[in-house]
Amino acid sequence: MRKIGWEKIKETVKILCQQSNFCLRDDVLRALRAAQEKEISPAGREVLAQLVENAAVASEEKIPLCQDTGLVTVFIELGQDVCIEGGFLYDAVQEGVREGYLEGYLRKSVVADPIRRTNTGDNTPAIIYTRLVPGDRLRITVMPKGGGSENMSALKMLKPADGLEGMISFVLETVEKAGPNPCPPIVVGVGVGGDFALAAHLAKKALLRPVGTKNPDPFWAGVEEDLLAKINSLGIGPAGFGGRITALAVHIETHPTHIACLPVAVNISCHATRSAEAIL
């Protein structure tokens, strides 16, 4: 058994919360720069220039990229040979989020009850997903996500007969309906298969994949490419001011499903697609 201390986990989560909010992911920044070359709309080009400069200002001055520093989702991969010492793993994660947001001057964007809506004051609780894996390491991925793009996400239980065409239509409809609201250029996470809950989970996880990488299955890599071209023909453009770059990437994750089912989930993320990861 390899031992990992509670305090170490808390500190790591705290740093990841701040890092992800101040420093735009390299892959996303690269994609924004590449978009500057391709965008033909003058307003769109100006927006992209502002976004690239915004990333520089945020990391230099340690100011969040976006004022919506998000609800935090934490993905944990826990090696089965790891022993957590000094307390409960989830308490360390929540305490790390709490300290990260308070000490980093990040916005507290969580309400305790979805209807009664009192702010919890420290941006907890984070949503935690844990996967048990072989080995003796602990991988922690922190993903803060804003409400604007989350609100534009959607899930539909298609019929198997709807097939690939139905899936593509649903993704396009969702992106077109979202229009300027989710802060394009967006990253589109798509979960296909599994059940109702897993499709949504896969769509979210798809946003963690570096922009510029493809689904390892050539069939799905082709669908990703096709969908990206279709989305970028919708005309929405950067900030929704009209243009060719509506999305930076489409990432599809799939899972076996029931003979009667074809769940499709679309999780939209803004141009400030944020995450940070550490392996202990």
Binding site: S41, L51, A58, I63, I168, G240
Partner: protein, 189 residues
């Protein structure tokens, strides 16, 4: 690029057209979902609002806390559509303009025409950059709402795009129309 001062009058609104790029300087007020709900309830009860609404610009923003030595933290626009339910009442009560991001409802677009208002967008997610143009921020009302409290902001050359003008034009719709080019493979939408 047009330079305008906030607050501003109907005459100024008549000069603005969808697609115009504007640098706004002066005093504006912040309000999001929770503050809108309270303001509209106060108006319905005939109460006096915590700040004068006539000709004012409301910015849909919930900034991050200001780190020591700064006027404000990150402060970019939030999605305006969530305020649509409350906006016609505020325009009727004298509000001149709004700053946010994302499309507005038909009711809001009509109210903008009727009361000669303007809907501006700032670039969503350019919050660190935009915060540089905010020189001062003071609490005005509802501190219990945390990031949703109402603040008075002094801005200088705050960069905006006119989305909905008082003539009924919509820059988002016009932009999409101009650049939409469905590939032969795309299904009719």
């Amino acid at each position: 690029m047009k330079k305008i001062k906030a607050p501003f009058t109907e005459a100024e609104a008549l000069n603005l057209a969808a697609g115009d790029r504007v640098l706004l300087s002066g005093v504006i007020y912040t309000a999001r979902d929770a503050a809108h709900k309270i303001l509209v309830e106060m108006l319905a009860r005939g109460e006096e609002l915590p700040f004068p609404l006539k000709d004012q610009v409301i910015y849909y923003v919930g900034p991050t806390p200001a780190p020591p030595g700064r006027a404000v933290g990150a402060a970019g626009p939030t999605t305006s559509g969530r305020m649509d339910k409350y906006t016609p009442a505020l325009l009727a009560a004298g509000m001149r303009a709004m700053i946010g991001k994302g499309s507005r409802s038909e009711e809001v677009v009509e109210a903008i025409k009727k009361y000669r208002g303007v809907y501006f967008a700032a670039v969503g997610g350019a919050a660190a950059l935009l915060s540089r143009q905010i020189k001062k921020m003071e609490l005005v009302a509802f501190p219990e709402l945390g990031p949703e409290a109402v603040y008075r902001m002094t801005v200088e050359d705050f960069p905006l795009f006119v989305i909905n003008d008082c003539y009924g034009r919509d820059f988002y719709r016009e932009g999409v129309k101009k650049y939409k080019c469905l590939s032969p493979f795309a299904k009719q939408l």
